[in-house]
């Protein structure tokens, strides 16, 4: 009996310490209580049984009261602390308690390519009346550990995310559903091969068309690291979890414009509140689908009731995804929605056939496309909406006819004739030649005259950068290394396109330069310009900054989408403008990107993304900004799979979210010289890894070495290079399937 009491006392002590960690030392005399408990705990065997029994009862009721009180006044920052606490349940606990049996794949504990990511094949049991059904699932998730150093707190390194991708592919071949568990403060921001940003982009790109049902459970969802395994059909979230675009500390450091050191605590708390990172807020925003309830002040290692509930929710969510693809589902879906116990009323087979997989992927695409659309600030005009809808429909119809019906017929017949002539030219020439001639006369010559090969002519609008109007010279920053002479400003920003003629250093230029110097004269037609960046979180002080940026640049968002021509080749392009809030991506930018790439898909034109500068996802839009990563990547995947040519060109600085998603997932990425691109800046790397990075860590040369980009271009030749790229990579028809 005494032994059990001793154990119980230890548990109570742990609980008290946990409360102290979450609510602070002064909360309801918790420090005093801890002192009392530890005193009894230390001299446990000197007290008599009666005293201990009474003491236990007393402490238990006291703690219960404190927990209830604490729950009432829980602040967002305290929720963040709960999600990060070493006593919180981890993936290993879930594997032990939710799944019936499991086998860890790709390493265990320290002997692991990345101990922060666990992949396991597991069995989950469904009880239907008195029968047991076993479902096989792949479990992929972050492991924070209960304070072990080697887990890195759940920060997945690039190769850890690569491992996750490998097992996703495995699950896909086997047809088992995947359960993702997200317990990460963020990805480990290093650029070693394959590079944080690149790997996250690859994961997102692959996950967007994964042929198995995927469920994600978020406990601690920190920005890019969470997205790396977070694109799922249903996203569950723990009630005391947080899901955010950036850690509150990071947001505070940016808000306080800190270069070094830790931000003040009050500001961190304020940012935690402003970021709206709790489960309730996220459910309201539609970035998650369901909340898994937790006991007051969060579930811990031994909350078996919570695990039971989690198991129910996981099975239910997987059922829901599967049933959405089935034709006969109505009754079962209804029953499922009423389900609240672990005893299931029916069994759902978790294997999908080919038609169902197609519906699954379509559902996923629709779900992510719809996400955050409510937050798009667009002037409401029913007539215009109607007109746009009709216009799009017309375009779609026209191009479907043109490319789906007419072209394949031509191509098929032509190919057949080619085969015929080459295979048996000698024998059949007298037969095939007349047929070919007749076919050419009837069809080809009339409907489709041969297009002349496009030639790039120097037809750009005369444009002088306002930077070039100063009469002075500047020094190249690389002058000491290469001995560059001073450059006269009108030359530099005029003829030299902002490039040092000696060493090739690229000076930053304003975005208008690109619009006028890359594309043909008067060919740039900006569309969707009405969609404006808003302040959906009502972040304090952000509306003024937005207003200021709008006034200064005359733009409404950081992304410009336009149709343009290069050497007569028509294309759809977007441009992230650095002047507007450092080219950060929010709801408006994501929406514009998706609309532009869909237009490119409908009209079967190449798609170009020019990155003037991007600083990542806009933190002031919280998770609404963050989900633009999977949203846009999905649109990219859809476009590329349909046969589009997607080219990305980086200039100046490109960091974080966009590079780790819709830009980084492009098959063709090029950077101009002097570009810096990567996942996190030097300050963040120093703070997370404790190591300094060399000054050329993010340079384009290193990105090329790692295989992130396909080549480094010179700005002076950008127009020519793009033209060649479009011709060589797109082929004659620029739409190669």
């Amino acid at each position: 009996m005494k032994l059990e009491w001793h154990r119980k006392l230890k548990e109570l002590l742990d609980t008290a310490i946990y409360i102290k960690d979450i609510k602070g030392e002064d909360f309801l005399d918790i420090s005093f209580l801890i002192k009392e408990i530890s005193k009894v705990y230390e001299d446990f065997y000197q007290y008599d049984e009666n005293f201990i029994e009474k003491f236990l009862m007393q402490v238990e009721s006291r703690l219960k009261f404190i927990i209830e009180e604490g729950e009432k006044t829980l602040t967002p920052y305290e929720i963040v602390k709960i999600a990060r606490h070493p006593q919180r349940f981890t993936l290993q606990d879930i594997l032990e308690n939710v799944y019936d049996s499991y086998m860890e794949l790709g390493g265990e504990k320290e002997l692991n390519i990345d101990p922060a990511i666990i992949c396991a094949k597991a069995m989950i049991v469904r009880k239907v009346e008195n029968d047991l059904y076993f479902h096989q699932v792949m479990v992929i998730g972050h492991e924070k550990g209960h304070g072990e150093e080697f887990r890195q707190g759940g920060s997945a390194k690039p190769w850890g995310n690569e491992k996750a991708l490998r097992y996703m592919k495995m699950a896909e071949t086997e047809g088992t559903p995947i359960h993702f568990f997200i317990f990460t403060p963020g990805a480990y921001p290093i650029e070693d091969y394959p590079g944080s940003a690149q790997q996250i982009a690859r994961n997102l790109y692959y996950m967007s068309k994964l042929k198995v049902p995927t469920i994600a459970f978020i406990s601690e969802g920190g920005s890019g690291g969470a997205e790396a395994i977070g694109l799922a059909d249903i996203r569950l979230m723990a009630e005391k979890g947080y899901y955010s675009v950036i850690s509150p500390e990071g947001a505070a450091a940016i808000e306080a414009k800190l270069k070094e050191g830790r931000p003040p605590r009050e500001l961190v708390e304020k940012c935690a509140k402003a970021l709206k990172l709790t489960a309730k807020d996220n459910l309201e925003f539609g970035t998650i689908d369901k909340i898994v309830p937790e006991p007051p002040l969060g579930a811990r290692k031994k909350d078996y009731k919570f695990f039971k509930r989690l198991k129910l929710e996981l099975i239910r969510a997987t059922d829901e995804v599967i049933l959405q693809t089935r034709s006969l589902k109505f009754l079962r879906k209804y029953v499922l929605s009423k389900q609240d116990t672990e005893d299931f009323k029916f069994f759902v087979n978790w294997n999908l056939d080919e038609d169902e997989i197609e519906i699954l992927i379509e559902n996923r695409y629709k779900k992510y496309k719809k996400m955050t659309q409510w937050a798009v600030c667009e002037p409401k005009n029913i007539f215009k909406t109607f007109f746009d809808f009709g216009h799009n429909l017309g375009l779609k119809f026209k191009n479907e006819i043109k490319y789906r019906v007419l072209k394949p017929g031509h191509r098929g017949f032509k190919k057949f004739l080619e085969e015929l002539t080459t295979e048996s030219s000698l024998l059949l020439k007298p037969v095939s030649d007349p047929v070919k001639t007749v076919y050419n006369i009837i069809v080809s010559k009339k409907i489709r005259p041969k297009l002349p090969t496009p030639i790039l002519e120097e037809e750009i609008s005369p444009y002088t950068s306002p930077l070039a109007l100063e009469d002075k010279t500047v020094t190249c920053p690389e002058a000491e290394k290469y001995g560059c002479p001073d450059i006269w400003v009108p030359d530099l920003y005029g003829e030299f396109c902002g490039v040092c003629p000696n060493c090739g250093y690229h000076f930053p230029l304003e975005y208008k330069w690109y619009l006028n110097n890359i594309f043909d004269k008067n060919s740039v037609k900006i569309f969707n310009n009405d969609i404006a960046s808003g302040n959906p979180l009502e972040f304090e002080g952000y509306a003024e900054k937005l207003k200021e940026a709008r006034k200064r640049t005359g733009l409404k968002s950081a992304l410009l989408s336009f149709e343009a021509k290069i050497g007569g080749i028509s294309l759809v392009a977007v441009m992230l403008v650095g002047e507007f809030r450092q080219g950060t991506v929010g709801v408006a930018e994501g929406e514009k990107f998706i609309r532009a790439i869909e237009l490119a898909k409908i009209t079967r034109r190449p798609f170009l993304a020019l990155v003037h500068t991007t600083g990542g996802i806009r933190i002031h839009e919280g998770t609404l900004g963050l989900v633009q990563m999977p949203r846009c990547t999905m649109a990219v995947r859809d476009y590329v799979d349909a046969g589009g040519l997607y080219i990305v060109i980086y200039d100046n600085n490109s960091y974080a979210g966009p590079v780790a998603s819709f830009l980084g997932s492009a098959p063709y990425q090029f950077a101009l010289k002097s570009t810096r691109l990567g996942f996190a800046g030097p300050r963040v790397i120093r703070e997370t890894t404790g190591q300094d990075v060399p000054p050329d860590y993010h340079s384009a040369e290193n990105a090329l070495k790692r295989g992130h980009i396909q080549g480094i271009w010179d700005r002076r030749e950008l127009r020519k290079k793009l033209f060649t790229a479009l011709l060589t990579m797109g082929g004659k028809n620029l739409y190669y399937r």
């Binding site: 009469d471 002075k472 010279t473 500047v474 020094t475 001073d486 006269w488 300094d692 060399p694 000054p695």
Partner: protein, 220 residues
């Protein structure tokens, strides 16, 4: 070759009397001097950081064609002979504006002394160098200051464009390897020192001097 004791003592005395090296700062090109960012006697810092990525302290502003260029210190030390009369005056290129008195550290003095006291093999070409296998294994066993070499011994191998050329020791007398200036397979510029040898009989004397320097100069 013998170390001239007198000479060495003289060098030591000179360092003691004046443990500084003077680095003049000259203008890189013509222009007007617009502003002095330092005063006489200020301490300036050279480039620092792990990769010397952080620039040195600003010294003065030189302006040509309305391009204000900040000239920075390339070495740490004390500013002296600052020509304040040049403010807003036109200066030619390569004109000395100030001097930086750089206090020599212990290692710098020792390396200066070693350069004058040792027999040094310099790199004949810009190439990669490795020690010959026999010398390398001996060095590993016995350490610096103990491996003896004779005339005609193969000391180094110069590896250049996949061709390997041996370098032989050409000096009469008993020498020991005292100091290595390179790491194997590192690209060495022409005429940079590779290995320093010391005559066996001079060895105790040299070691004594170095110990004395280590004692007398605080390691700052």
């Amino acid at each position: 070759m013998k170390i001239e004791y007198q000479n060495l003592n003289l060098i030591l005395q000179k360092f003691k009397a004046n443990p500084y090296k003077i680095y003049p700062v000259v203008t890189p090109h013509t222009g007007y001097i617009r502003e002095f960012k330092i005063k006489e006697g200020d301490f300036v810092k050279g480039p620092f950081g792990k990769w010397l990525e952080k620039p040195g302290s600003p010294l003065f502003v030189l302006e040509r064609e309305r391009n204000q260029k900040i000239i920075r210190a390339k070495i740490s030390g004390i500013v002296q002979k600052l020509r304040t009369e040049l403010l807003n005056k036109f200066v030619e290129a390569e004109e000395i504006i100030l001097e930086i008195k750089h206090p020599l550290s212990q290692e710098e003095i020792i390396s200066e002394i070693l350069l004058s006291a040792l027999y040094i093999i310099k790199a004949p070409e810009t190439a990669r160098y490795i020690l010959s296998p026999t010398i390398a294994s001996k060095l590993e066993k016995e350490g610096l200051g103990k491996v003896k070499v004779k005339k005609g011994d193969e000391i180094l191998i110069m590896a250049f464009m996949k061709r390997e050329t041996p370098i032989y020791f050409s000096e009469e007398g008993n020498f020991v390897i005292y100091h290595l200036y390179f790491t194997p397979f590192q690209l060495i510029e022409r005429d940079q020192p590779l290995i320093g040898f010391c005559q066996e009989e001079n060895l105790p004397y040299l070691q004594k001097i170095i110990e004395r320097i280590k004692e007398e100069w605080s390691n700052s």
